[in-house]
C-alpha cells in the first residue's frame, strides 16, 4: 500500500488508467463511458477518453448485446476490452454473448482463440432502486465453465482485481456493489495485482469461519467484532474470486475452526453459498462440529419501500445468529 487513501471508484478508475497506459490493447466500451457523456454513470472511466481518445474509450448506444458482442470479437483478436454493463440486471438482455460465446470460444475453437474480456457491472440492494436494478446474479455466471467472476470488498482489491482481470487470458466478470463507490481505504501501489482465485483472510480467528465476498466482507467484519465481544473468535475469509473460488483457503480455515457460515447478498436458494456449503460438507464432513450455515437475502424480488428492502437484505445480526447456530449445535452434539 502506498500510504495514501483512495475511494473504491477512484481505485477502479486508476486501474483502468494504468492498464490503458501499459497496454494499447486495453479499451473501454459501455453506455456513457466517455467524458463527453460524463465518464460513466458512476464516473469510473472519468478522464480516460480525454486521455486515451474516444477510439479506445467508446460510449455506446443502449445495446448490451452489441456491447458484449463487440467486446468478444475484439478480444479474440487480442484486444483487451473492458465492457461496462451499467447495472447487473441489464446483463439479462445479453447473456448469450457471455455464456454461449465468451465462455466457450476457447474450448469450441480447440484453443485457437481465447477471450481476454472483462465485464464490469454494478448492483446491490439498499438504495431504493427496486426490483429491476438490484439483483446479485453471480451464481449464474459461476455455473458457466469458462467464465470467471470476482468482486472486491475494498479499494485496493478493486484496483488489484481489475488489473488481474485485464491481464487474464479468459473472460472475467467483475461485480461492483452500488453502495461501495464512496468507500475509502488504503491506496495500492500502481501495478498492484490481486491474483484471481485467491482468497484473503480479512480477520483471523479460530472458532468459526465466515466465508464471504463483496459487501458481505464489511458486514462479516462487523459481526466478527460483535462475536469477539462474546469471546467468539471468528475468521473472516474474503473470497474475492467467486469462480473459480479458493477452496483450499476455505478448507484450511474450516479445518481449523470446524464451523462455517457463508454470507452473501444474493438470495439464498441456489445461490453461490450453496456450492460453498456443499463443498465444505463434502470435504470436511467429519471435522465439522455443526452444519454450515448460510446467511443471504430473503427470496423475493428486491422491494422498493424501505421497510421491505430492509426485510429483504440480511443483517449483521443474522450473521451473528448464524455463528451462534454453529456454536450451539457444537455444544449440543
Amino acid at each position: 500500500m502506498s500510504g495514501k487513501t483512495i475511494s473504491f471508484g477512484q481505485a477502479l478508475n486508476a486501474a483502468l488508467d494504468d492498464a490503458m497506459a501499459d497496454d494499447g490493447n486495453v479499451m473501454i466500451l459501455g453506455e456513457d463511458v466517455a467524458d463527453e457523456q460524463g465518464g460513466g454513470v458512476f464516473k469510473v472511466s472519468k478522464g480516460l477518453s480525454s486521455k486515451y481518445g474516444t477510439s479506445r474509450v467508446r460510449s455506446t448506444p443502449i445495446s448490451e448485446q452489441a456491447i458484449l458482442g463487440a467486446a468478444v470479437g475484439a478480444a479474440i483478436i487480442g484486444m483487451r476490452p473492458v465492457a461496462e454493463i451499467m447495472l447487473m440486471n441489464f446483463i439479462t438482455v445479453a447473456m448469450d454473448q457471455l455464456v454461449n460465446h465468451a465462455a466457450k470460444l476457447r474450448f469450441m475453437s480447440g484453443g485457437q482463440t481465447n477471450v481476454p474480456l472483462v465485464v464490469r457491472t454494478t448492483t446491490g440492494a439498499g438504495v431504493g432502486f427496486g426490483g429491476q436494478h438490484s439483483d446479485m446474479l453471480e451464481a449464474w455466471f459461476a455455473h458457466v465453465p469458462g467464465l470467471k467472476i470476482a468482486t472486491a470488498s475494498n479499494p485496493a482489491d478493486a484496483y488489484g482485481l481489475l488489473r488481474s482481470a485485464i491481464d487474464d487470458e479468459d473472460p472475467v466478470i467483475l461485480i461492483e456493489n452500488i453502495t461501495h463507490y464512496g468507500m475509502t481505504g488504503p491506496a495500492p501501489e500502481a501495478g498492484y495485482r490481486v491474483p484471481l482465485g485467491k482468497a484473503a483472510i480479512a480477520r483471523e480467528g479460530r472458532d468459526v469461519t465466515l466465508v464471504t465476498y463483496g459487501r458481505g466482507v464489511g458486514d462479516s467484519l462487523k459481526a466478527a467484532s460483535l462475536l469477539a465481544d462474546e469471546g467468539i473468535a471468528a475468521e473472516v475469509i474474503d473470497l474475492r474470486t467467486i469462480a473459480p473460488w479458493d477452496e483450499q483457503a476455505v478448507f484450511a480455515s474450516v479445518a481449523k475452526t470446524k464451523r462455517a457460515v457463508i454470507v452473501h447478498e444474493a438470495v439464498r436458494p441456489f445461490g453461490a453459498g450453496a456450492e460453498i456449503s456443499a463443498r465444505i460438507h463434502e470435504e470436511l464432513f467429519s471435522d465439522l462440529l455443526a452444519p454450515v450455515q448460510r446467511v443471504a437475502s430473503y427470496p423475493s424480488p428486491v422491494p422498493f419501500a424501505k421497510p421491505l428492502e430492509t426485510a429483504f437484505l440480511y443483517s449483521v445480526d443474522d450473521i451473528v445468529r448464524a455463528a451462534h447456530a454453529t456454536t450451539d449445535k457444537a455444544i449440543n452434539s
Binding site: 463527453e36 457523456q37 445495446s63 427496486g130 429491476q132 422491494p303 419501500a305 421497510p307
Partner: protein
C-alpha cells in the same frame, strides 16, 4: 367507445382535458422534485418536465380500457392514463396505500383499472410486452389497443426491433410511441442512433412511421388518434415519433450541464405551460375554465401529497406475499 375512430377533432372538451392532464403532470413533477430537494422524500426519480404535453395529448387518444406499457420515466404517462394522484403519490413515497403497496415504486407502476399494465426499468423491454397485450385483444376479438411508450435511446435495443417486426407480421393492434426527447441518459441522439428520425425505422418493419411535434397538443393528439384508429380497425401497428424534450437531467439530481444552454432555453420555451395555456385558450377554452382546472389540480395534488405522507409504509412481513400466488413461509 370508438369515437376516436370516426373523427379526431380537437374539440374544446379535449383541449380542456389535455390542459388538465399536462398541468397535472407539470405540477406533480415540480412538487415531487421540490420534496426531493428539501429532503421530504428520497427516491430515485426520472423527471418528466418538458414531456407533459406529449403524454397528455397522446394518452387522450386512448380509451380507459386501452392498455399502456411505459417506462421508469413514466409519471407523465401514468397520470395522463388516469391513475389517481393519491395512489401514484403513495407508491412514489413507498407507502402501503400506493398502487403497488410500495413494492414496485416509481419505476414499476401498474394500475389495471386505468389500463397501466407494466412500467419497466429495463430499456425497451416493455415493447414486446405491449405486443402481448395487443395479441390477447386480437385473439379475444376485443376492440382494445395497446400502446408501448419508450424513449429514443430504446430504439437501439434488440427488443424494439423484435417487437416491431412481430407486431407488423401479426398486424397487432398496437401503437409504438417513441418519445424522442433527444437524450438517452447523457448520450445525444446523434451519438447513439444511426438515424436522425426514429420514425424512419418503421420502413424496416413494413409499417407506417410518423413524426410529429410532441409539444403541439393538437398535432400530437391527432397523430396518435390516427395510429390508434388504425390499430383498432385491425390494420396493424404504427410507429409514432413524438419530438419532445427532457428539460432536466436524466435522473433527479444528476448534472445536465452537457446540454447546450441555448438548446435548453429554446426547449424550455417550446415546452412551457405558458405556451400550452396560450394555445389551449385559442380553443374556446376560457380563462376562467383554465383557472378552475388549475385550482382543482393544485388541490388534487395537495390532497395526494397529504395522503401519501400520512399513509403507513408496508409492514416488513408483507415481503412474503405476491412472490407466488400462495404466500411464502416466514
Amino acid at each position: 367507445m370508438n369515437k376516436s375512430d370516426s373523427s379526431h377533432a380537437f374539440t374544446p372538451e379535449l383541449a380542456r382535458s389535455i390542459y388538465r392532464k399536462a398541468y397535472l403532470i407539470n405540477r406533480t413533477d415540480q412538487r415531487f422534485r421540490a420534496m426531493l430537494t428539501n429532503g421530504e422524500l428520497a427516491v430515485a426519480y426520472y423527471p418528466v418536465r418538458g414531456q407533459e404535453v406529449t403524454a397528455a395529448a397522446a394518452m387522450s387518444a386512448l380509451q380507459p380500457e386501452d392498455y399502456l406499457v411505459t417506462t421508469y420515466r413514466g409519471l407523465h404517462d401514468s397520470l395522463a392514463k388516469g391513475i389517481p394522484s393519491r395512489l401514484l403519490w403513495a407508491e412514489f413515497a413507498g407507502k402501503r396505500t400506493g398502487t403497488c403497496k410500495g413494492k414496485g415504486g416509481p419505476m414499476h407502476i401498474t394500475y389495471p383499472p386505468t389500463g397501466v399494465m407494466v412500467t419497466t426499468g429495463i430499456v425497451g423491454s416493455g415493447i414486446p410486452i405491449a405486443n402481448g397485450l395487443a395479441m390477447a385483444a386480437q385473439i379475444r376479438g376485443e376492440n382494445r389497443v395497446a400502446v408501448a411508450s419508450f424513449g429514443d435511446g430504446a430504439s437501439n435495443i434488440g427488443a424494439f426491433h423484435e417487437a416491431l417486426n412481430m407486431a407488423s407480421v401479426w398486424k397487432l393492434p398496437v401503437v409504438f410511441l417513441c418519445q424522442n426527447n433527444q437524450y438517452a441518459e447523457h448520450t445525444t441522439l446523434a451519438a447513439g442512433t444511426s438515424v436522425t428520425s426514429i420514425a424512419e425505422r418503421a420502413a424496416g418493419y413494413g409499417m407506417p412511421g410518423v413524426s410529429c411535434d410532441g409539444l403541439d397538443p393538437e398535432m400530437m393528439y391527432q397523430t396518435m388518434a390516427a395510429a390508434v384508429a388504425r390499430a383498432r380497425a385491425g390494420d396493424g401497428p404504427t410507429l409514432v415519433e413524438a419530438h419532445t424534450y427532457r428539460l432536466q437531467g436524466h435522473i433527479f439530481g444528476a448534472d445536465y450541464s452537457y446540454i447546450p444552454k441555448e438548446e435548453l432555453k429554446a426547449a424550455e420555451e417550446r415546452a412551457s405551460m405558458m405556451r400550452l395555456r396560450q394555445r389551449i385558450s385559442e380553443r374556446q377554452v376560457t380563462e376562467s375554465d383554465l383557472a378552475q382546472i388549475e385550482q382543482e389540480v393544485d388541490a388534487e395534488i395537495e390532497d395526494a401529497v397529504a395522503f401519501a405522507l400520512k399513509s403507513d409504509p408496508p409492514d416488513p412481513d408483507e415481503i412474503r406475499f405476491d412472490i407466488y400466488e400462495t404466500e411464502q413461509a416466514a
